[in-house]
């Protein structure tokens, strides 16, 4: 049985009131949900809150899910909306460092993307470049940020993003193009990291 078919069975059981089936569904998707939420927020506590909120919404709205899209696509839409709602609530100014790390148990740590075959200079340059991109992403309007994360980090297709955002495919493509240009412009003051011209 494919995962989609298996999901359909679990969803049907959960819609009939089977709490254990719902828990299995949550267990199947919670890591991916958290990963997406964390990539949007770069904050483990906020990401956890968004995931909890999202699954609560899933539980509440599950009887309205008719399978027009894959469950995962529907979940992405809910998480994106939870994130957008969070950003609306959170109007306080943030200090966004272009070297933004994550808050772990040991305080701020610098994110490392290590490839054992790269020398230290290559690694340092790549880490700086990726840190700059993360910092720029955090400064972008939420919709643009969500689209960029969905496509480039979560590896969702244009078609799936169109379903998540409930907009035409052509709209997704033009908005993503504009988001990429906006990201490029934000990184413009760090030319030495990116631009050879």
């Amino acid at each position: 049985m494919t995962q989609a078919a298996d999901d359909a069975v679990l969803i049907s059981q959960a819609q009939a009131g089977d709490r254990a089936a719902f828990d299995v569904l949550v267990g199947r998707y919670e890591a991916r949900a958290y990963q997406y939420a964390f990539r949007l927020t770069r904050n483990p506590e906020i990401a956890s809150d968004i995931v909890s909120d999202a699954f609560l919404r899933v539980y509440t709205a599950l009887n309205n899910f008719r399978g027009q899209s894959a469950f995962g696509t529907w979940l992405y839409r809910i998480i994106t909306n939870c994130y957008l709602d969070f950003k609306k609530r959170d109007k306080s100014a943030r200090n966004t460092s272009l070297d933004a790390g994550i808050r772990g148990e040991e305080g701020e740590i610098e994110r490392q993307f290590e490839d054992p075959s790269d020398g230290p200079e290559v690694l340092a340059e790549r880490n700086a470049r990726e840190g700059a991109v993360q910092g720029a992403l955090a400064q972008m309007p939420e919709q643009q940020q969500a689209m960029l994360v969905m496509f480039h980090v979560e590896m969702r297709s244009y078609e799936e993003i169109a379903q998540v955002l409930d907009v035409p495919l052509g709209t997704v493509k033009s908005r993503l193009n504009r988001a990429r240009l906006a990201l490029r412009d934000l990184l413009g003051n760090q030319k030495e990291l990116f631009f050879t011209g």
Partner: protein
């Protein structure tokens, strides 16, 4: 073609999904206009970096529920 018109084509050009006529037009524009050439180069550099963000490993908290 000016840089504003060129920018509309960047993503499709980078991904190789652009129509041939538009690709040829953008190629000609980049040859003729250094501003467009450099503008696209900076766009492509950022696009080259974005996939590496997906390599990041994110651990799910044990107490997520």
């Amino acid at each position: 073609m000016d840089v504003t018109q060129a920018r509309e084509l960047y993503s499709a050009y980078y991904e190789g999904t652009i129509e041939r006529v538009s690709a040829l037009a953008l190629d000609e524009a980049m040859k003729a206009d250094p501003e467009i050439r450099e503008d696209y180069a900076s766009f492509a550099m950022v696009m080259d970096t974005l996939p590496t963000l997906a390599e990041e490993t994110i651990s799910t908290p044990h107490d997520l529920h």
